[in-house]
């Protein structure tokens, strides 16, 4: 069936209004529907990823209009893999939300969750820059609702910052799109890839500005320094399952950078060459360093994790900015790892909050279920900081290896290694204060014993950890797949010809038909 490729967009879009309309006051039915939607999404995404794993590019023309005129949905190996990652992450975030009761602390959690999935999947699958904007807006609108889910002044304040920053980002995105359209007359990515090479070198001023604007927009999404200011408070204040799902949102920015700058503005394009070596690589190195220093400086556990997200995005972008096939493959490997690790850590921070009531890094009485939570934190921290034996270590090795040939190799190696050390110290300090020193504090007399997290919460976190372990065990296969994807990205001819040469309505000018 050729229609499956649009299912990751349409399915959540249908489930969400159904949840609002039919199950508005029944949290049980909402949970069942939402879970069923996510499980079905995983099945479809797995099928699509399997279909794309041999390098085929699937095209879906909405309304059967041919590519430069109509809207297209394109599934290649990279986009289907990201959709699969999104759906798997969504399952565990949803399980945790149900297990911890977060979804019942406000209205419409499940509907917004589904809309969020629709936006993310759409952003990964679209083959058109304007629809990338539209899907960004869809996922942002849903994320605004999820971010302030269950309210509270601190969360609302963080929400205002988050919304305002992203509104500015959207405006910038529109400016970039307008500039690109004015220069090339198209917004279809495959068509753009062909037309960008046709513009003579003297006339590329507008295109260059557009390329830089677009890079800024995606850098806002990917939280690269100096455009990261929205991330710490919004991720820290968002409800934990939402923050776990948000772990994929920064990767949407990374995905967009990889997609647009391998296909439309490839490194060998005269107009935009040097954009990555001169600008993106140093910015990524600074975000890596700043994120990990933030880990050491954070005074609350949730902020600490938010800064580690900035650091790991810096790591992804360092590897991306090398713009070699090896570098992109390493970046993709690290992207999946960092999504899973960040989501796990956010969920664990909520496990700590459940028993402790506060995430401040100061000794407090032991929490219920402390040993299990501490063990999980230990494993997740090892993964995030990139110590052996978990996948962060492998990812970091791959990135170091890819950075070896770069002219900035010394900087890349020094930043990665030193920032790793700093983050290890930061996580070790946080873990020992929260879990270890708790034993030296006497519990309050007569106080009620703090509530323990439910088994389902532990199941969700354990599931994510198991995925991280599996990702480490099958690292060879995974990296082989990433190498295949990166080869496909650097030879976009198959993508372009699939999009532009598939016949549809309007595919031939009228004069030829007569």
């Amino acid at each position: 069936m050729i229609h499956w490729i649009i299912a990751p967009v349409v399915m959540p879009a249908l489930v969400a209004p159904f949840i609002v309309l039919a199950a508005r006051y029944h949290i049980g039915i909402q949970r069942v529907l939402s879970l069923a939607g996510v499980v079905a999404l995983i099945a479809v995404a797995a099928g699509l990823a399997w279909q794309a794993s041999d390098g085929t590019v699937t095209l879906y023309q909405l309304g059967d209009w041919a590519a430069p005129f109509g809207i297209v949905i394109v599934g290649d190996a990279l986009s289907t893999m990201m959709v699969l990652l999104t759906s798997v992450l969504a399952l565990f975030a949803l399980l945790y939300a149900i297990g911890s009761g977060w979804d019942a602390r406000g209205r419409h959690f499940h509907a917004l969750f589904q809309f969020q999935l629709m936006g993310i999947c759409g952003a990964f699958l679209t083959g058109d820059l304007f629809n990338l904007f539209v899907f960004f807006e869809v996922l942002l609108i849903a994320s605004y609702g999820l971010m302030i889910h269950s309210g509270g002044n601190v969360r609302l304040r963080a929400g205002v910052q988050y919304v305002l920053f992203n509104l500015l980002g959207s405006t910038l995105f529109l400016f970039a799109l307008g500039a690109i359209y004015a220069e090339t007359g198209t917004l279809n990515m495959a068509d753009l890839a062909q037309r960008a090479t046709l513009i003579s070198e003297e006339a590329t001023v507008g295109l260059r500005i557009a390329a830089v604007l677009l890079l800024l927009v995606f850098a806002i999404k990917a939280a690269i320094v100096p455009l990261h200011f929205w991330l710490p408070s919004s991720y820290a204040e968002a409800p934990a399952p939402v923050a776990a799902l948000f772990a994929i949102m920064t990767k949407v920015g990374a995905y967009a950078i990889i997609r647009v700058y391998t296909m439309i503005f490839p490194p060998d394009l005269e107009a935009t060459s040097g954009l990555f070596g001169i600008w993106l690589l140093p910015a990524a190195l600074i975000s890596l360093a700043l994120g990990m220093v933030g880990v050491l400086a954070a005074r609350k556990l949730d902020r600490l994790i938010a800064f580690s997200v900035i650091g790991s995005m810096g790591m992804v972008m360092v590897s991306t900015a090398l713009f070699t096939p090896v570098g992109i493959a390493a970046a993709l490997y690290y992207t999946i790892h960092s999504t899973l690790a960040a989501a796990t850590l956010f969920l664990i921070s909520d496990l700590v909050r459940t028993g402790r009531g506060s995430l401040r890094l100061k000794p407090m009485p032991p929490i219920a279920g402390a040993s299990l939570t501490a063990g999980m934190f230990f494993a997740a921290a090892i993964a995030m900081t990139g110590l052996p034996p978990l996948s962060g270590f492998i990812g970091k090795l791959l990135i170091l290896d890819a950075g070896f040939s770069s002219p900035l190799a010394v900087w890349v190696w020094a930043t990665i290694l030193i920032s790793s050390l700093i983050s290890v110290v930061g996580f070790a300090r946080a873990g020992s204060i929260v879990f270890w020193k708790a034993r030296s504090v006497a519990p309050e007399e007569g106080g009620e014993p703090p509530a323990a997290p439910t088994p389902l919460s532990y199941l969700a976190v354990g599931g994510l950890l198991a995925l991280l372990v599996a990702y480490t065990v099958f690292a060879g296969k995974a990296h082989g797949y990433m190498t295949m994807i990166s080869k496909q990205l650097f030879a976009p001819d198959a993508y372009i010809s699939t999009v532009l040469d598939t016949p549809g309505k309007l595919s031939k000018p009228k004069t030829e038909e007569k």
């Binding site: 539209v134 609108i141 609302l156 009531g357 506060s358």
Partner: protein, 119 residues
């Protein structure tokens, strides 16, 4: 005409940016509105300025306006309108809750606010 439109976009953007850099939510929201006006006009003109021509290509029509930017602008207007409504509501909620409408981070951390827990 080109100068008029270009300077209008420039003025709107400059005023919008100035307001966005203020510290309180109301001017920031106004600034974002101005910026979205600017970007709407900019998108509209990205298909070149054509005056008095139909936006639809038909047989026998030699001059026409590019219809695609008009469709894009329509989408952008709808989205920015909805977003402005959302941000006004969230900002109002934050202002009424904490009696403070600054958009920057508080310099002192709130001392274990009870509001962190849902009511």
């Amino acid at each position: 005409m080109e100068f008029l439109i270009a300077s209008a976009i420039g003025m709107l953007t400059a005023a919008g940016l100035y307001l966005v850099l203020r510290l309180r939510t109301f001017p920031v929201i106004l600034g974002i509105s101005l910026l979205t006006y600017a970007v709407n006009v900019f998108l509209f003109t990205s298909g070149r300025i054509t005056i008095g021509a139909p936006p639809i290509l038909r047989d026998g029509v030699s001059t026409y306006t590019d219809p695609l930017p008009q469709a894009l602008v329509l989408t952008a207007i709808v989205i920015s309108f909805g977003m402005t409504a959302v941000v006004v509501m969230i900002a109002l909620g934050a202002y009424l809750g904490s009696n403070d409408d600054h958009v920057d981070d508080q310099t002192h951390e709130p001392d274990e606010p009870k509001t962190e827990e849902p009511s």
